[in-house]
Amino acid sequence: MTSLVTIAWIYLRIGLMFVGGGYVLIPLLNHIMVEQYQWLTLRQFLDGLALSQLTPGPLAMLATFTGFRAGGVPGALVATIFIFLPCVVLMLLVGRNYDRLKKIDIISSTLDGLLPAVVGLVAAAAWNLGVASLSGVKEFLILAIGFAVFKWTNVTPMVVILVSGVVGLLLN
């Protein structure tokens, strides 16, 4: 068993490095977990990747899986806390300064000006997800129903998602 302090230190460093973009995470973790510490085989690493993508959390939930391997439940907990620590702290700093910065004219008009790009990226995510997961008539039908429900009713989205999960289980 690796000591929890070692685990904390390893994941804190990874957390610092992946500020900026999620996908550096995969090669980085692969290098550290599989090659450097040999906690996992490549096969296990890839299974862990699939497993963490099953959950609502970010891709970095892979830290929970690899941390579990390295140190059981305490290892999973420590790994998860420390990998997310840097981005939570940064986001809190952003939040603290946001109200002050927004009062500066040039900054607030710049922020408002880039909002269409954010909207474009949201739409792009729907597109990319669609290309990856819409394969048959069934899926398009569920998509159409989901769209209609969200667009014209006020049913809370969590209920719709849970129902669709059950439908998915029954259909497949």
Binding site: L54, P116, A117, V122, E139, T156, G168
Partner: protein, 185 residues
């Protein structure tokens, strides 16, 4: 954080984000769409503009699904609100991955959950599309905005550019154009 509005209780923040963290299958933008739907539309906790500003910062700073939760929680109740929202959001995934990891390392098998995702994925796409349409209605005014949205969409879908770079480019463009407007009009 306005003091005039009634403070949202920390327990309500926790419950809201834990529910999002429990049901937001699909991750990433699925979470963003959920938080938008719940915190902007249903509860009116944060304005659409402020939420999108938070999303822009969140995309530059890594795991944006977590980051928008932290940002919204902080907006409601400061540091404590942010930490509670982030923790509540991660907690269900943490428990789920821990459980699945235990199953995996004990039985050497991946649990069969992919079937459920076949149902949730299309619905999630529907949700993201609806949220994108709502956002576009509110935020895209005029040809310039529309052009920027299309450019960002194309840069992501066709050029596969990283979102952080796209946003930095958009910020630079927006900075220059607001500077130009100020100087010359």
């Amino acid at each position: 954080m306005s003091n005039s509005a009634q403070k949202v209780r920390l327990s309500e923040i926790f419950l809201t984000f834990a529910t999002i963290g429990l049901t937001g299958f699909g991750g990433g933008m699925a979470i963003v769409a959920l938080v938008e739907r719940v915190c902007v539309r249903e509860k009116g906790w944060i304005s659409s503009e402020e939420f999108l500003h938070g999303l822009a910062f969140g995309q530059v700073l890594g795991p944006f699904s977590l980051n928008v939760c932290t940002f919204t929680g902080h907006h409601l109740r400061g540091i404590r609100g942010g930490i509670i929202a982030a923790t509540a959001f991660i907690l269900p995934s943490f428990l789920l991955v821990t459980l699945l990891s235990w199953i995996y390392f004990t039985y050497n098998k991946l649990p069969q959950l992919q079937a459920a995702l076949k149902g949730t994925n299309p619905v999630i796409i529907g949700l993201i599309v609806v949220v994108a349409i709502d956002m576009a209605r509110k935020q895209i005014k005029g040809g310039g905005g529309l052009l920027m949205a299309i450019a960002a969409f194309s840069a992501s879908v066709f050029l596969k550019l990283n979102a952080a770079w796209i946003l930095l480019g958009a910020a630079l463009w927006s900075l220059c154009s607001s500077y130009y407007r100020r100087r010359f009009t």
